[in-house]
Amino acid sequence: MERPLTSTPATPSGYHGCYLRIDLAHASAQRVPLAEDVLRRYLGGSGLGVYLLLRERSPSVDPLTPAAPLAFVFSPLVGSPLTTSAKFAVVSRSPLTERINDSLSSSHFAIGGKRAGCDAIVLVGRAAEPSVLIVDDGEVRLEPAGPLWGMSCSQAETQLRARLGHDFQVATIGPAGERQVRYATISHDGRHAGRGGSGAVLGSKNIKAVAVRGTQRTLWARPNELVALAKQLSAKSFGPATAKYRELGTAANLLVFNRLGALPTRNFQRGDFAAAADLSPEQMAQTHAKTRASCAACTIGCEHIYGLKGGDAQQPGVRMEYESLFALGPLCNVGDPDVVLSASRACDELGLDTISAGGTIAFAMECVERGLLDAPWLKFGDGQALLRALGEIGRGEGLGPRLAEGSRRLALALGRDAIHFAPQVKGLEIPGYEPRALQSMALGFAVGTRGADHNRSGAYELDFSQRVDRRSPGLETGGLAVEIEDKAALMDSLILCKFLRGVFVDFYAEAAEMLNLVTGWQTTPDELRATARRIVNAKKHFNVLCGWLPAEDTLPERFLNQPLPNDPAAVLSGERLRGLVAAYNTARAWSREGYPSAEQVADLGIA
């Protein structure tokens, strides 16, 4: 490809003021200017990503067809000394939900991609053959993927860096992305842009990996003050608000959720799991070798990496997060920690979202029990069956192609009442929060623009507080859920890790200060509140253009009107959920059904 022309307008500090638009079919790249007004209104990450996709008319395009855009989006804080700021978003229309999908990941790819000289990389078209996309300090080229095609995520990343040089940072898909499994991930350094199938979109473009390198740093408007603030933030990040992540990791949730009857088990048939203690980080730290790791530019260090018992000493350990643990353990009724670790490793190597993989397999296990699916080997509690199912998904063999479609499509194909117990909202499998026991989170799942999701809606914070009754929340929950969702939208656009949220006393004011020191703007907390609202409005508008209907904002029948078997008081009536959704929509100043107003759409600034 030719080196794209540089035509960058006056640009605020922290930005390059342009994105690279790469047409893979025609092997051409264009540097497209980004106006300061757009950057200030959408910031970066998820916010800028949804703006770019709306400009590309993404909602009208099937996400797995060549014309579908996929955006890697950086942010103004990437490359700054602010802790946890080395993050990027991958944004596309989801092949799993056919709605907006923004998946975040982190570390050196974010820094390398931004140093390549752009605020985002937007891919359209389809390469003629399996290829590697290389963005080298603004120069763009395609190379044949060759033997990389078919390799695991970590193998491909290692080999490609060996081939290109270790100053390249690489994001790859695994075999699952090549086969366009609808919940395939994009991996970098063992972490994943995990949810919603962005790996399938990249695979549909015949791109095995994206390699980035560059020397183009952006300026900081007030560097001395920024460094001082970054030191303060780092110091706070060592404090008690993040101790849980440092010492135990997110897996610390397991025993708490189990005690509260909120740990999804056997495809959400129960909220407690008899073998929970065996899988807990407290126990696994006694029985397994463990190390810790951090993303680039992070002082928290939440990653807890476990060795497999009797495993190959040459094999790296397995990162274990709560969501992977729940989905591949209790949800499938598997209590053997080594099986769960092996399953998590398989997902990492194949490039599979652990939540959707576990959710779909657990659903299939129940379908087998009910005689809806002819696969007698696929039984709850059978760890080897879990591993076999993951392998078949990755290789496209046996039951794999059916499981690769996700639980909603599988349920619709099986018919009868299967859709009632498929654990998904809008097609996205439900994470590890039992909705009947945590009903604020049930609302968050129902209204989430990318489906059932705990990263865009953190409404569980309400359930874990005295502010609401988690099994009988009042209508005020609608407005409270909006506040939490807005905060997440801003964090995902700045971008900062949500594990920092406990260290902020006045989040919007502190976020404005960070942004101003980087960009030189005079952003106010109120402006950032409006920005967060705009970003959520943009996502909803995207979904409306995709054909979203109000009936999507609900939960499967399993979760409505019947008590959770382990907790008779945990009943979520359909009427209560509908009331909460209406209260949420009202708090967003949308119509009662959930449509943004004409003024809100006009404010998006999408021609």
């Binding site: 008690p240 708490v256 509260l260 705990h454």
Partner: protein
């Protein structure tokens, strides 16, 4: 009055036990008893009038409580756990 205290996450790490018995008829009395016996727990998880912001208390796995004057009844279990459920 003796009640059961269950500890999770960082509070468990600091106390070094998963479960214990404590004396008190109100939340603040139970926390004071725990503070006497588990000084590290108190230093890192308790505040002067209750719990630090990174720590929460829950009664019987049902309701979260913050009021130091919350009355406890015989047979109650008080859960003390790390805040921030996300992950």
């Amino acid at each position: 009055m003796t009640i059961t205290v269950e500890l999770f996450g960082i509070p468990r790490q600091r106390a070094g036990v998963a479960q214990t018995q404590a004396e008190g008829a109100r939340l603040d009395e139970v926390l004071a008893d725990l503070a006497r016996r588990f000084p590290l727990l108190a230093r890192e998880c308790f505040a002067e009038a209750g719990l630090q912001s990174g720590t929460m208390a829950n009664l019987n796995g049902q309701h979260f409580v913050t009021d130091p004057a919350t009355a406890l009844r015989p047979g109650d279990s008080l859960l003390i756990l790390s805040a921030d459920a996300g992950g």
